[in-house]
């Protein structure tokens, strides 16, 4: 299995009011291409910090993270931005859609950022929204959509530029069981491909079954990585 992400001995410390909090204390993790990895663990154990570093929006204090073989932290600022813009898709617990933009416009944002023409970007956005089963809600503003629909728009946005890594922080915790299930099915069937990796932080035990592997964290460490039954069945 080729490695999508390979992190060695990641340490990250926050300081607030002179108080040091070690959020990550020597993390080692490998995530393969075509793999759906879940990060689980108690609140405050460092899950969000870890995916922020993996997604390149936070710098670690020490240790090295290779993203698709690229030492991300060694890149210049501009290279980091370009790398993120082309390779990473984000899904958030609170959806984080731009409230003034309709579904199509929201989904086309990652393409606009990389300089794609608006008409081309919106065409692409439409296609992916159709895959997400939102053909009839394309012109709706986020406020006019249900939580599950907003999250589907957010997933479409995370996929529209065909990134190689998709990171999701608690994608289902704001949703009811049925919507959460739909979201996970879509992520697994459409987002996950052989040349892509998915990292999902979650508390939601109802969706553990969708994972290939689950990394359990506690207090800045990964204490256990287990392969799930579904992965073994494959």
């Amino acid at each position: 299995m080729n490695s999508a992400i390979s992190c060695q001995n990641i340490i990250k410390t926050y300081s607030t009011d002179g108080q040091l909090v070690t959020a990550l204390n020597g993390i080692n993790i490998e995530i393969g291409l075509g793999e759906l990895m879940m990060l689980v663990g108690p609140s405050g154990c460092g899950k969000t910090t870890l995916i922020s570093i993996i997604a390149g929006i936070l710098n670690q204090d020490s240790g090295q993270c290779l993203l698709f073989g690229e030492n991300f932290q060694a890149l210049t600022n501009t290279q980091q931005l370009r790398f993120r813009a082309h390779n990473i898709g984000f899904v958030f617990q609170a959806y984080n859609l731009l409230p003034a933009l309709n579904a199509i416009e929201n989904v086309s944002v990652p393409l606009i950022i990389t300089g794609t023409k608006r008409a081309v970007a919106e065409q692409k956005a439409k296609e992916i929204l159709e895959q997400m089963g939102l053909s009839d809600r394309m012109k709706a503003l986020p406020a006019q959509l249900s939580g599950g629909q907003q999250q589907r728009v957010a997933i479409a946005r995370a996929l529209v530029h065909s990134p190689r890594l998709i990171v999701c922080d608690e994608p289902t915790s704001a949703l009811d069981h049925k919507s959460g299930h739909i979201i996970m099915s879509l992520l697994k069937s459409i987002a996950l491909q052989h040349d892509r990796a998915l990292v999902i932080v979650t508390h939601d035990a109802r969706i553990f079954g969708f994972a290939d592997r689950i990394a359990e964290m506690d207090d800045g460490h990964i204490i256990k990585i287990s392969t799930t039954a579904s992965a073994e069945a494959n």
Binding site: I57, F90, P110
Partner: protein, 386 residues
């Protein structure tokens, strides 16, 4: 990214209107107040502008502005006439005299005495009668504002409005009679007194007996005579002061600028408009950015560069700035138009539009700058925080 920036801006209608209102207010203050100022300052020399014919004004060397009368001896007129390069030179009397009205009340008036033969320096616009009518005995011409207001006659019916002075009505100046032969329209000056035109010799009879009564000598240079050389000759020969029309306007204008509180007062108002405008617009714009900070964070996480976000914020600032400026200047112009017949001074030259435009531009740049700094410092990792 532009359409995203614009949709973001207009997405929150309340904030959007708030920013625009702040900028409109600032543009209004920064246009309307200076326009009043420019209008007022133009009034200081409007009498000089109205006396269009002469090239050169000659006066006592201590005169500081148009209403600062320091009379000369009449012999100066003949000395000036004798200087080479002078085509003609005419006397002018200008002074404040008490006028007794029909009801016995006194009113101070600005009396202008014009050369008896040529009547040079007379009002540009006659509403009734002609300037030549001044040659009739005891003839005076009054300005329309004075005729309607301060010189008007009480109505014979009690409680009715005063009746404006009309042709044939008479006034009493220093025990001499003046009969109205014309009504003129004069440009408003800094002085609010009524203006009365008469001939130079009659003005001398109206004025208190004094040795010197000649206020100004109005000089026309011969064709091809350089006015500045002529001015130098007049000064050298007579020891008097001499200015071109423009030079005398500037002398008067500068006197008011230096010696009155007008520029300071307006300066304070305009600065306050600028500061308050900056505060309101800057504050609302900054608030708007803060409220959307998460959206900027999401864009940053997705790989948008600081340059892209900066362009978005600048575009937003330029848009609200232009709309606010347009509305503010429009309101200021409307104000000027509404006040065009009133006593209000108002002048809106294009330079003033540039001035307020630059002012509003500055406000927008300052407002955008603090927002931009915030966005540049923004850590994209905030997007995972709830």
């Amino acid at each position: 990214m532009n359409h995203i920036a614009l949709k973001m801006l207009m997405g929150d209608k309340g904030k959007y209107l708030g920013i625009i209102m702040g900028l409109t207010f600032a543009s209004l203050i920064m246009t309307q107040q200076p326009a009043i100022f420019v209008g007022l300052m133009a009034r200081t020399y409007s009498f000089i502008s109205d006396v269009a014919l002469p090239d050169i004004w000659v006066m006592d060397s201590k005169v500081q502005f148009i209403d600062d009368i320091k009379p000369m001896q009449e012999t100066e007129l003949y000395r000036v006439r004798g200087i080479s390069g002078v085509d003609w030179a005419m006397p002018m009397y200008k002074g404040l005299l008490k006028v007794r009205l029909a009801d016995g009340a006194f009113q101070t008036c600005n009396v202008i005495g014009l050369d008896d033969a040529t009547l040079i320096g007379g009002p540009a616009t006659m509403l009734t009668g002609t300037l030549a009518d001044l040659r009739q005995s005891d003839a005076v011409i009054v300005d329309i504002e004075g005729a309607k207001d301060k010189l008007s006659k009480p109505s014979p019916i009690l409680g009715q409005k005063n009746i404006p002075l009309q042709l044939g009505d008479s006034l009493e100046l220093n025990d001499h009679r003046g009969i109205i032969v014309g009504i003129a329209k004069v440009t408003r000056t800094f002085q609010s007194q009524p203006v009365i035109y008469t001939t130079y010799s009659r003005a001398k009879t109206y004025a208190p007996r004094e040795r010197r009564l000649l206020s100004f000598i109005l000089v026309k240079a011969k064709p091809n005579q350089d006015p500045y050389q002529l001015i130098a000759r007049i000064k050298a020969t007579t020891g008097l002061a001499a200015y071109t029309q423009q030079g005398f306007k500037e002398l008067t204008y500068n006197y008011f600028m230096k010696n009155t509180g007008i520029p300071i007062n307006f300066g304070i108002t305009i600065s306050l408009g600028f500061i308050i405008g900056t505060a309101i617009a800057g504050q609302t714009f900054y608030n708007f950015t803060l409220e959307n900070i998460r959206q900027f964070g999401v864009l940053k996480a997705m790989g948008a560069s600081n340059a892209q976000l900066l362009k978005m914020i600048l575009l937003q600032a330029v848009l609200v700035g232009s709309i606010g400026y347009g509305l503010g200047v429009g309101l200021a112009a409307l104000f000027g138009f509404a006040m065009r017949h009133s006593i209000m001074a108002f002048k809106l030259p294009w330079q003033l539009l540039v001035f307020s435009g630059v002012g509003v531009g500055f406000i927008c740049i300052i407002a955008a700058l603090i927002s931009i700094l915030k966005v540049i410092r923004l850590e994209p990792a905030i997007v995972f925080k709830n």
